[in-house]
């Protein structure tokens, strides 16, 4: 076996040169570009990471804003609700006042109406009583319409105060006597006598007929009147009833 040393030496040199050539024109540029790309990718990743962080911050900020907005909205709603509640209560109060007023008015109206009604009822009752009394007296003898009343009239006249009594039928003045029916002569005399006794002096009487009295006699003087008749009694009863009803 024979080795060509020149060839061996040349090939070694050749290979060393090739190592340099490939290192210069292939390995170094490619490794450089790969590392450059790696650096660029790293840079890009860093940027993306920073961007992500920023986006997350923005998102959390937006979330906070949203929550604040929701809170404000809730506050506004609550306030509006409270206001509505207050105004509702106010309206209710107003309505209640209004109702109370109306009710009071109605009550007053009703009371007034009842009063009027009762008054009219009293009137009607008194009229009815007058009619009943008149009807009843129709059944009695005519004498009963006057007989019992002459003494009563004289007693009432006697109870009048002194001055009033003195003014009745002074001088030529006649005493106006109203009667339920025309008086007979004897009755007229009895009446005159009774009055004279009650007043303590002689008087002239002038009799007028008033069927509205039903039964009894009445004296009408300028400053006084003596009433002794069913009419007067019924009037008194009616007045009494009226005061009771209104009480």
């Amino acid at each position: 076996m024979h080795i060509d040393w020149w060839t061996l030496a040349l090939q070694t040199i050749n290979l060393l040169v090739l190592v340099w050539i490939l290192s210069r024109f292939l390995f170094r540029p490619i490794a450089d570009i790969v590392s450059q790309r790696q650096a660029a990718a790293d840079d890009l990743l860093h940027k993306a990471e920073a961007e992500r962080v920023r986006a997350e911050e923005a998102e959390s900020k937006a979330e906070a804003e949203r929550q604040a907005m929701q809170k404000a909205r809730g506050d506004v709603l609550l306030k509006a609700e409270q206001e509505a509640e207050a105004s509702r209560a106010q309206l209710l109060e107003q309505a209640r006042d209004e109702t109370d007023k109306l009710r009071a008015n109605a009550k007053a109206e009703v009371a007034k109406l009842r009063e009027v009604q009762e008054a009219s009822m009293g009137r009607e009752a008194s009229e009815l009583a007058v009619q009943i009394a008149a009807k009843l007296f129709d059944r009695l003898p005519d004498a009963a319409r006057i007989d019992g009343f002459i003494d009563g009239l004289a007693e009432a006249a006697a109870k009048l105060p002194e001055r009033t009594r003195a003014e009745i039928g002074v001088g030529d003045e006649t005493v106006a006597v109203a009667a339920a029916r025309a008086l007979s002569e004897s009755e007229r005399a009895a009446c005159k006598a009774a009055l004279a006794k009650a007043l303590g002096r002689d008087v002239k009487i002038e009799v007028t007929v008033d069927p509205a009295l039903i039964a009894g006699l009445e004296i009408t003087a300028p400053h006084a009147s003596v009433r002794n008749s069913f009419r007067a009694d019924l009037d008194r009863i009616a007045a009494e009833l009226g005061t009771h009803a209104s009480a």
């Binding site: 090939q11 090739l18 490939l22 290192s23 024109f25 490619i30 570009i33």
Partner: protein, 234 residues
């Protein structure tokens, strides 16, 4: 292919220097490879084109293999191992060109490759562990192993040379014999097989060179080289 495969006939002489065929072929490979690399890497871009992507793939693959074997940053070893791999690959495949005999079919070229690997292993060992540390690695696990370790260095290098030379030379001869016996198109399957064998041999030579360097630069005295993943098919 009529002469002895072990004999070299000088083509011409430059003074005392005899220029033989493998040297001429190697020059051609150097020029073409250099020209191609210069053109391809003239305008590199962050967004690679097709050629750049292919070159990046090749360089990345070499880096990956170196890293797997050496377990260190591949940058310092990239030029030696990468050049060895690419040169053997291109030289083996140059047999496809009619009339060209691959330089690796010659003992001198393979010896030159193995010599470079041997010297660079020493260089990296001294550079990374210091002269003392590198020399001490011969005395591991004990002083008694010094002669054996030295012999191991030589035999490993020698086995690199003989493996590559034997494989490629055989391929060339088989194709030549079949061509002379059978005819024009018959050796084509054998040539295809030779392409595959050339690739495998380039890979094996580069990886074993890598292991040699890894042994020299490894800090772990007990387990100098990690196990090879790819089987040693040589």
């Amino acid at each position: 292919m009529t002469g002895s495969p072990l004999e070299l006939q000088p083509l011409f002489e430059l003074g005392p220097v005899q220029i033989t065929e493998p040297v001429i072929t190697t020059w051609g490979i150097m020029v073409l490879t250099g020209l191609f690399c210069w053109l391809a890497t003239r305008r590199l871009n962050l967004k690679p084109g097709k050629v750049q992507a292919a070159l990046e793939l090749v360089v990345g693959g070499i880096d990956h293999q170196i890293e797997e074997v050496v377990r260190k940053d591949p940058a310092p070893f990239r030029a030696i191992i990468g050049t060895v791999f690419l040169f053997i690959l291109i030289a083996n495949w140059s047999s496809l060109i009619p009339g060209v005999e691959p330089p690796t079919a010659r003992l001198e070229t393979d010896a030159a490759l193995a010599l470079i690997v041997l010297v660079s292993s020493g260089y990296f060992g001294v550079r990374m562990r210091g002269a003392g540390g590198y020399l001490k690695s011969f005395a591991e696990p004990s002083w008694a192993m010094i002669p054996l370790n030295i012999v191991e260095q030589i035999t490993r290098t020698f086995s690199l040379v003989v493996r590559l030379f034997g494989n490629i030379m055989c391929g060339v001869f088989v194709i030549g014999i079949v061509l002379s016996l059978a005819g024009l198109f018959v050796p084509i399957p054998l040539m295809a097989l030779e392409l595959l064998s050339g690739t495998v041999q380039a890979y094996i030579f580069a990886i074993l060179g890598c292991v040699l360097i890894a042994t020299a630069v490894s800090d772990e005295s007990t387990d100098p080289a990690p196990p090879l993943k790819q089987g040693d098919r040589a």
